[in-house]
Symmetry: C2
Subunit: 527 residues, 2 copies
């Protein structure tokens, strides 16, 4: 599958799969004196094979001059809005610059925007930036509480829209394009971020029974929230399934293709929560649970996000049991990111430095093991070699935290598959979204029992699946057309932390598991 | 038919015929965590028995607090927009003040607005004012040319919207209502006026092949053109059939009920043009022609619009042949309005003062006949008795002009009925719209051969049929639902001024006609 590669360029779109239609109208005459608007709408409806086309009132202002200047030809940008074809923009058919689209990954932490040629589907450029709302709070919960204050919600909206606008202007300038040529925008974000972007009350999202203002915002005008694109631009906001199942995940499902395949597959997106979707073309089941903290670099003392100087890969020489560290950009080590931590844990386990309970084993750790604050810790990089000038250490508490996260992850995967009676071995593909998916070594994740012991080829990094889904919505009418059906098909499985779940969780808090037969490929070095 | 009376109060609407729905929603729970918007939409769709309800993005902002404050009850104002139910406003169900509607007769010369209670359909008050665009030009043509200048179109839009807003604020203040409570507006105007109100390019309306920007503007938001009503108010603009067949006439057809009757009837609206619609529930045929100038008070030297001091009725004592004049408000005569002129011409003809060619007859006119500028003129009111301090005179040229107008009127009526093979005698009703319809004496109009010689009961004044139609759109879903079908059923008959038309016209330029057998009821006094 081409879209499974994280760095795949956006695929050129089929000519009849775009949101563009070039029309040639019959000029009016005394015998055919239909008004300009209805003339255009009828021609467009005929071209699209639909009964009716909706249009914005604002398109009427320039319409008479446009049609006459363009000799009754027009390039129409349209989109589907609540099941109806909607004319979004009219462009000069003689102009060579194509109408543009903008795909937005509206992340809590990072945003990515991608500029697209709507005619070809080709990506023209991307840019990434930190969510400016971080200045209010790094996590969604803090922001939602902040939104309750006086003009908190407006301030949060201003921050994120401001950041988007700066990025749009910068990206367009770099690509020598005009933001006014952006007529379609697709935005994939979690439910809270979507609400904050649109200026919608987020407070009930986090209060029982967890109710969003809207599930399907549909096509919102860019001017409704001040986006620096064509004023009439249609902004498609991916629908959510609920407060804890956002449009970003729906975009990911779309991008992964799992809802279009015969065989079941899994999609995992690890963030603050681990979000898991299991399904095929007939059914989809989703759940989410707290599994991520240790993997996001936020919990371990030396943890950091994937970035220059982050230890992202740890190897272990079976002959000498020596550890080899690799850093992003091959810079002096500054910390360890999620994938590095998993690699490290796997290497420590396989080399005997950590036992099956996840505890550091003094006999095997040697002089790298020290004690601080009554706790064992392993010095991974001495101060003299680190970029920070301090030892980079892995504390027993960091390991304990990782054990909980990996156990939670496995338990969620186990629970969701058992729920529908699918065995791990039946999974055709296991997609791992995000940066995490790109950097993680499935081998290491299997070794610590975080991911099931499947053939390595089953694991496929998806890259930025939110951005990928948003891109698809703009470049493929056919793929876009599946979103609503896909959304309606999702069963959300509430993870009840009951006795069965806790039993599974306890059993998964071993390396790789209390039942090693589930992980036949994991072989610890002999003593 | 109750709506045929010009001064009929607006009829109370049937409870299930309004645009209001009171909803009680199931409050959300952990097992039913649909978002607020979708919860509301589903309940509304179920209440209306439709699949889908559209809503404005702007409604979402206040929705969460409203639903919770109102215990998940809501009073919804909705309307039909392009065949779909659209939620227009949400109101507090505990509030006693009803949601309001505003019906607008958007006349070239005069505007009338009527405030309505959307719950009962009752009219709460009306106000009338001159179209402020008159300062640019009294007629549409001048205004359209003016709109071509720099910011001419914006200026014209500002003028009429400003006038409307002053009237809305005044009317609401007088009725102790809040303009913010106006959630639905229905506007009936001719095509050019509608374009000028909405800020749409009017220039192609008057240039061959006479193309409006839009035929069916549909439901426009009040804020789109700055109307001083609830910002999200839905403004229904009556569709036009073409540049010369405006929404005002469609509103009139709706109000008259001719499109809902079994037997054919005629609707005549006399303005600058005479607009004629003939039809029944199965077919409708419309045409328009220049017939009005002499009847509008703009051509005759002493002509004026119906108003205080206008001679509106002229009687003739068969015994003495003396003329009796009545003025509006019984004030000293200031001029003569259309109905008075027709009365006068009939009286002069019946008394022998005017011959069948429409010429003043010196033998019968006596000393009231004078000569000025080489032209005969009849002094109707001597200077000593008039409000102007000058003689009020009827010149031969005024009579000639009236002869042309009345002949044109009769010819149009004859042409349109012949076109579909309907005899005048088959007409069930003959509706005459506007002030003209209220003041005109059908007996006099028959006498001069302007209207066909039908039983007087056939003639029914409609009053302000544009306002009446606009009112119906807001107070009866059932009647509103007929507009589109009605519009699609109209055949517009282009009045070709060919030889046949000219022959008819010439034959009609006699009193009452060259063929007096067509007017058996008209009896001139014996010499």
């Amino acid at each position: 599958m081409s879209q499974s590669h994280p760095n795949a360029p956006t695929a050129p779109t089929a000519p009849n799969d775009t949101w563009l239609v070039d029309l040639t109208l019959t000029p009016p005459s005394l015998l055919d004196n239909t008004a300009d608007a209805e003339r255009l709408e009828r021609a467009l409806a005929a071209a699209l094979g639909v009964d009716h086309v909706e249009r914005d009132f604002d398109l009427l202002g320039a319409l008479p001059e446009q049609l006459r200047a363009w000799d009754y030809r027009a390039r129409c940008v349209w989109f589907e809005d609540q099941g109806r074809a909607r004319l979004v923009a009219l462009c000069d058919p003689r102009r060579e610059v194509p109408p543009l689209g903008l795909a937005v990954d509206l992340g809590t932490t990072r945003l990515v925007i991608r500029l697209l040629d709507l005619a070809t589907g080709n990506g023209l450029g991307e840019t990434t930036f930190d969510n400016p709302q971080i200045e209010v709070g790094p996590d969604i919960l803090t922001r939602i509480h902040f939104a309750d204050s006086n003009d908190g919600a407006e301030q949060l909206q201003r921050l994120v829209v401001g950041g988007l606008n700066r990025a749009i202007v910068g990206l367009c300038a770099a690509q020598d394009r005009d933001p006014e040529d952006i007529h379609l925008v697709a935005i994939a974000g979690n439910t809270a971020m979507t609400h904050l972007l649109l200026g919608l009350e987020p407070r009930w999202i986090i209060r029982e029974p967890y109710i969003p203002v809207v599930n399907c915002p549909g096509l919102v005008r860019g001017r409704h929230f001040g986006l620096r694109v064509s004023p009439g631009a249609g902004c498609y906001v991916f629908p959510n399934v609920g407060s804890y199942f956002g449009g970003d995940l729906l975009a990911g499902i779309l991008f992964s293709g799992i809802a279009e395949a015969d065989e079941p597959a899994i999609l995992v997106d690890v963030g603050t929560n681990a979000e898991v979707v299991l399904g095929n073309r007939d059914w989809l089941i989703a759940c989410a649970g707290a599994a991520g903290p240790a993997l996001e670099g936020g919990v371990t003392k030396m943890g950091m996000m994937a970035g220059p100087g982050a230890i992202d890969r740890v190897t272990m020489d079976p002959a000498t049991r020596a550890l080899g560290l690799h850093t992003i950009g091959e810079e002096p080590p500054r910390g360890i990111c999620g994938s590095g931590l998993i690699d490290l844990a796997a290497a420590l386990f396989l080399s005997g430095r950590v036992d099956i309970r996840g505890k550091l084993v003094p006999e095997w750790c040697g002089e790298q093991l020290t004690q601080a604050d009554d706790m064992l810790q392993l010095i991974l990089v001495p101060a003299s070699e680190s970029a920070t000038g301090a030892d980079l250490t892995l504390r027993q508490a960091d390991l304990d935290s990782l054990m909980r996260s990996k156990a939670a992850m496995y338990t969620i995967l186990r629970t969701v598959t058992r729920y529908v009676g699918v065995d791990f071995s039946e999974l055709k593909a296991f997609y791992v979204a995000g940066t995490f998916g790109i950097y993680i070594d499935p081998r290491a994740a299997i070794t610590i029992g975080m991911l099931p012991d499947l053939p390595l080829s089953t694991y496929q990094p998806l890259g930025n699946s939110s951005l990928g889904g948003a891109t698809l919505a703009l470049t493929s009418r056919a793929r876009f057309g599946r979103i609503d059906a896909l959304r309606d098909r999702i069963t959300y499985l509430e993870l009840n932390v009951n006795q069965e779940f806790m039993n599974r969780f306890s059993a998964a808090k071993f390396l790789p598991h209390t039942d090693p037969e589930r992980f036949p490929s994991v072989r610890v070095l002999d003593d």
